[in-house]
């Protein structure tokens, strides 16, 4: 085997006990080469990373064939200790990777394990923390860190020993703009300073690419299909439109220019031209009658998406799979006149005695989706738990209805031993008949008797949403509801929350994803400097650079272009919905495994939703404490 390759795989394939598999894959990365791995949720990206560093099959059982080498060591016959010197790993869930009590110890731990001389540890520790944007966390306890802060620490620990190979599993999933910058810079530094090769699994490609566009991303791309087979492999410049369209169809996020190329059907258009091609004009639609199909017709106002894109397969725009009709997005102003269902006055929240946020006055009204944004560690999760009544405020009051809540980590709220029982927790006997329809709505029937802990990440997220929605509470709180989900699953999760709002609930979502905020939120609450800095709208936030900077947010280029075009929030939301509908139209049900097909059922068809909203599904005024408690 070649001595130059630090990551080498030949016909590498793994089959897990569940029958899911990944590969066969051939890989060869020389020092300094970077690879990006893409694929929908459940396609085996994490398993493939684990195959490269040996966790599969050493720790996680699997039938492995073919061979993998890391820095010249055969992974199958090496020990964990033997590989540790060569690989830096950031796991998908940073919480699971933390071993020690303080950040300083945590980052020094890999260095100590590798017997780095004592005097060399301090400078290495300092450098690693600085590169990961975590210097300010050095003396904090790991137990008190937020998800995004932990993710920075995990990155620092992975790069501290300057390993020959970096294996990163969604390292930006919980990070604010500065954190994403740190990941981008750390990848670049690792390559230029130490010649490290890297393999990256990432959903947030547009954010990670930043203003540099796709050129900043790793040059090698490996695309896995829903069943873990390699769909495409090569240099990113060789990606043709068909591959890009398939990627969007599979549920992968892409950097803006590639997403637009996929939706527009050709590469090389400028952002504006591509946007115009995708969003089209109504005139364009009628000018191309040949593209319209009976299916597209019956989708009513959505037909233009298929026509505007000009090249979508006619059958792809079935009414069941397009997004919400733009009309229902126009938020009825009257609902803002509704009395708030949850209100806080002078609220201060924090850990022990130290306040993270003070003087928070906010109100949530029926029918609105409100986004909660702010840099990592500003207290989004802490505020949500206080609003849910799960933690005692340091000062001030929370009045209003008891809220339902979805935690950042769904596992943290599971209380029952089966999926069905999880939905039944806290549900009064006379409301038990809601469980069946809810299972069906979220595609969970087949999993009803499984343990919640044995589900995949995406399935757990759907379960936690279902368990919250089944109570039909007037207030719903969701902490990063799209964390770890692919594009389609994210759209389903946000769609479910939106339809709950349309049915009369007040919804508050903590979120880093500005695009999701702009596409779904009526209002945005901005947390910064230890207080509620602003109560504004998505468009106003996008246009206020000072506020965005204070909140650690940076819109992608695409969002900036859209914001510049849009006259008001409704237009912005409408255009994002049309982009989303165009992406949804590329969904390929045939290529999906049964599980992914079930995922489609997570979002009810537009008519079903409209019916639900029209019937005004009544909120039980006094539902008992449920999964949130």
């Amino acid at each position: 085997m070649s001595a130059e390759a630090v990551v080498l795989a030949e016909a590498l394939e793994a089959v897990l006990p569940s029958g899911d598999g990944v590969g066969p894959v051939d890989l060869r990365l020389a020092p300094g080469e970077r690879m990006l791995m893409l694929g929908p949720s459940g396609s085996g990206k994490t398993t493939l990373l684990r195959l490269l560093h040996g966790a599969v099959p050493h720790a996680f059982r699997a039938t492995v064939s073919g061979c993998a080498e890391l820095a010249g060591h055969d992974v199958a016959s090496a020990t964990v200790a033997g590989l540790a010197a060569h690989a830096g790993v950031v796991a998908q869930d940073p919480v699971s990777g933390v071993c020690l009590a303080t950040v300083e110890q945590e980052v020094a731990f890999p260095l100590e394990n590798l017997a780095v001389p004592r005097h060399a540890i301090e400078p290495a520790l300092r450098t690693a923390l600085a590169r990961a944007g975590a210097s300010h966390l050095r003396h904090r306890g790991t137990g008190g860190l937020s998800g995004g802060e932990l993710q920075r620490v995990a990155l620092a620990a992975a790069i501290a020993a300057e390993p020959a190979v970096l294996l990163l599993d969604e390292p930006t999933s919980m990070l604010d703009a500065a954190g994403v910058d740190a990941v981008r810079a750390a990848l670049e530094t690792a390559r230029s300073a130490t010649g490290a090769a890297s393999v990256l699994v990432e959903h947030r490609l547009d954010e990670l690419a930043g203003d540099g566009g796709a050129a900043v991303l790793p040059e090698q791309w490996l695309v896995l299909g829903p069943t873990g087979r390699v769909r495409w492999q090569g240099h990113r410049d060789e990606l043709d439109v068909d591959v890009l369209r398939e990627l969007v169809g599979l549920g992968c996020w892409l950097p803006a220019e590639l997403e637009l190329a996929a939706l527009a059907g050709r590469r090389g258009l400028g952002t504006e031209a591509a946007l115009a091609a995708v969003l089209g004009e109504t005139a364009t639609a009628s000018a191309q009658p040949g593209v319209r199909t009976p299916d597209a017709e019956s989708a009513g106002p959505r037909g233009f998406d298929a026509a505007g894109a000009g090249a979508l397969e006619p059958g792809a725009t079935s009414p069941a799979r397009v997004g919400r009709p733009g009309a229902t997005h126009a938020h009825p102003l009257e609902t803002h006149a509704h009395e708030p269902v949850l209100r806080t006055e002078g609220l201060a929240v924090g850990h022990r005695r130290a306040p993270v946020l003070e003087g928070v006055d906010l109100a949530l009204r029926p029918g609105e989706v409100v986004a909660l944004v702010g840099a990592n560690g500003t207290g989004k999760s802490t505020l949500l738990t206080a609003l849910a009544g799960l933690s005692r405020p340091l000062a001030g009051t929370v009045c209003g209805a008891r809220a339902g809540m979805v935690f950042q980590h769904p596992e943290h709220q599971f209380a029952a031993s089966t999926v069905r029982a999880e939905l039944a927790v806290g549900l009064p006997a006379e409301l038990q008949d809601r469980i069946g329809p809810m299972l069906e709505r979220f595609g969970l029937q087949r999993l009803a008797e499984r343990s919640p802990h044995r589900l995949s990440g995406g399935q757990q997220r759907r379960l936690s949403l279902a368990a919250m929605l089944v109570h039909e509470r007037p207030v719903l709180l969701a902490d990063e509801p799209t964390f770890g989900l692919d594009r389609h699953a994210s759209a389903d999760a946000l769609g479910a929350l939106r339809s709950a709002a349309d049915a009369g609930a007040a919804v508050l979502i903590a979120c880093h994803d500005l695009r999701a905020v702009a596409a779904h939120a009526d209002r945005v609450l901005v947390l910064a400097q230890g207080r509620l800095l602003a109560d504004t709208t998505p468009l106003a936030l996008l246009r206020d650079e000072r506020m965005r900077t204070a909140a650690g947010l940076r819109p992608s280029r695409l969002l900036r272009v859209l914001a510049a075009r849009a006259g008001d929030d409704a237009v912005l939301r409408h255009e994002l919905a049309r982009l989303e509908a165009a992406a949804q139209a590329l969904r390929t049900p045939d290529a999906s495994p049964p599980e992914a097909t079930a995922e489609h059922r997570g979002v009810p068809a537009p008519d079903a939703r409209a019916g639900r909203a029209a019937s005004g599904a009544r909120l039980a005024p006094d539902v008992r404490a449920g999964t949130a408690a």
Partner: protein, 198 residues
């Protein structure tokens, strides 16, 4: 003999520490029960005895390797004595080793292959029985009229709290999926070779 895998060692220590705390809590319950039982208070320890056996069958059933039951039980006793200050004092370590040995013996006799209700039942009885003779010697129970009452109560407690309850706990844990990557989970999956879907 193959060494224990890192994850087995971590689990073993975790079980030991958690049960060390639970055992200490059980000591508090024992004190309360002894007071509540009035003149018969000295018999309270026999009623609860099986509870102090739990970790050994749990560890053996999950990890399925020789000596893990004894080791887990001894770790738990170290936590009790060194960190939490059990009134039993350092000789508890000897008792713990005897308890662990008694509990593990039936599993060892099946060469760590059988984990049915019967094996757990015998494990509970032996765990309670083997150490009884040491305790009786230490506490001067020999010659008492109620020696066999003590033994009988302790064996029954061992059967239910230290044997059958362990089986219930193991089965409940297994259902959650957290044990999938341990010997117990691998034994489940060994029945069907994975066939790749898709």
């Amino acid at each position: 003999m193959k060494r224990l895998a890192l994850r087995d060692i971590v689990l073993l220590v975790m079980l030991g520490v958690v049960f060390g705390f639970l055992y200490w809590a059980l000591v508090q319950a024992w004190n309360a029960l002894a007071v509540a039982m009035g003149p018969a208070g000295d018999l309270a320890q026999h009623v609860l005895f099986g509870g102090w056996l739990l970790v050994a069958p749990l560890a053996v059933a999950i990890i399925r390797r020789p000596f893990v039951g004894v080791i887990a039980e001894v770790i738990a006793s170290v936590i009790e004595v060194v960190f939490l200050g059990s009134p039993a004092g350092p000789t508890l370590l000897i008792a713990a080793a005897l308890q662990g040995a008694g509990s593990e013996l039936p599993f060892a006799l099946t060469r760590y292959r059988r984990y049915g209700w019967w094996v757990f039942a015998i494990s509970g009885v032996l765990g309670a029985g083997l150490v009884f003779f040491y305790s009786a010697f230490r506490a001067g129970w020999y010659g008492q009229e109620i020696l066999f009452l003590r033994l009988g109560m302790q064996l029954v407690s061992g059967l239910f709290l230290g044997g059958l309850l362990a089986k219930v706990l193991v089965d409940a844990l297994r259902r959650t999926g957290v044990l999938d990557e341990f010997a117990i989970g691998r034994a489940d999956a060994a029945l069907q070779a994975p066939q790749r879907v898709g």
